[in-house]
Symmetry: C2
Subunit: 234 residues, 2 copies
DNA sequence: ATGAGTTTATGTATGATTTACACAAAGGTT
DNA sequence: AACCTTTGTGTAAATCATACATAAACTCAT
């Protein structure tokens, strides 16, 4: 390692957070419209500088809370982007995270962000500020991998959900077209063989068709299974 | 994003590289003995500051080349470590990488690193400088996952290898004890069903037992299979 | 030259998992 | 009451994973 020197303490570190939500049959991402240069009026990922006395994870959680009012949201670091010229105003290294939140818990237009914040379909995105398309894409790919081997899909659903909703969620994340994606019966068989997805003995109400049963993800139970060597895989 | 301000350009960014090698039946990692404070004389991961006009990936490649003389080595970014107090002398955020190299291509004691560099068994590591145990561990876990779904194990073997060597490599990375790990016949069956691991019609020479056939990983062939939808999985 | 020592190479039967596939039941709406 | 929409369910066939033992190829010591 080179000689320790103040010369090197000239970089800014930011976090950028790809906030995913799921609505109907569509995977969404929360973007903000920039109110300052550079990239004024362009859509961008929510992000901020990491403060001098702040851990990086904490910075991401802070931004998320400022933007949505929510704490204890699923958060995962993905990768760091630090090309020399990725930011026009200096050397800015950005640590990318994604988070998963239940979209109906999100209350719009919080005070601290003057700019517009809006959910966008992941499948139809325009050009974003900075290298945010690349960042978003990396996070989406990571989510896609993660969701097959960790039971994190539930973070995007309400506490009580139907198996059809769960299946639509997986199809959206894995980019399988509906009505050609996962076989309904096989999907349910696999899901219900996991005893931590529990039948609540309740049904939907007020729907104009046969009501679906409601299920819940039991995290404690899941963790007990993991300790006994169980390995989630879809 | 907060107001753009020079206040935030006060962080140093480093890279730390977990360099893996494989020798006989043992997964190794290349460490250097620190020649300066802090952590003088402690073993540490090779790393350095990222220069002002240097991409982060490039910094990692540079360090690797300075240390080993090797270019075009497999390199993968894992995660960024940036706890406020991880470095005693200031705010230093470190981007962790691992790399995989053919251990016999490594020539010892290169000029640019005055300190001792030495291979250590991953399985018996002492305490390292900074948070390097944590970094090493994260990289090892990532390697463990990666090796099951990407054909990167070959990066650690000589160009021509025997199936026994390959099996030992997998057992070392996956921490399966030898003689209780993977079934030899089933392992070979699976490997040889992948047509990009090609039989060279050559054998070992000068060994005091039945000589093993030599095989080679054909990367181009592999990539063609991937394009046709093939998915590596061990 | 022979035998001992060591490691390689190979196939099959059993069980487990994955896949493909179609129709009756439960509600609301008219 | 008939209709519309969506839910809920089982089985057979195919594929994949697992468990397991013995002969063949080479060196070394005698």
């Amino acid at each position: 390692m080179a000689q320790f020197s103040q010369e090197f303490f000239k970089t800014a570190v930011t976090v950028d957070n790809v906030i995913f939500g799921f609505d109907e049959a569509d995977l969404k991402v929360l973007l903000i419209k920039r109110g300052t240069e550079p990239y004024l009026d362009k859509w961008a990922l929510p992000g901020d500088f990491v403060y001098p006395n702040e851990d990086i994870d904490a910075a991401t959680a802070r931004i998320l809370e400022e933007l949505t009012g929510l704490k204890n949201v699923y958060l995962e670091q993905v990768r760091t982007f630090g090309s020399v010229n990725r930011h026009p105003l200096g050397r800015v290294v950005s640590v990318a995270y994604f988070s998963l939140l239940k979209i109906n818990r999100y209350t719009v237009t919080p005070a601290s962000f003057a700019q517009k914040a809006k959910w966008h379909s992941v499948s139809k995105l325009k050009e974003l500020a900075f290298d945010h398309n690349e960042i978003l894409n990396a996070c989406f790919q990571t989510l896609k991998q993660r969701v097959r081997v960790r039971p994190i899909g539930f973070e995007l659903l309400p506490p009580k959900f139907t198996l059809t909703e769960l299946q639509h969620l997986y199809q959206a994340i894995l980019e399988l077209d509906p009505e050609n994606g996962i076989d309904k019966r096989n999907f349910r068989k696999k899901i219900l063989s996991m005893d931590f997805i529990v039948d609540l003995n309740e049904s939907q109400e007020g729907v104009a068709h046969r009501p679906a049963r409601l299920y819940q993800f039991d995290k404690d139970k899941y963790e007990r299974f993991v300790e006994e060597g169980f390995n989630f895989e879809l």
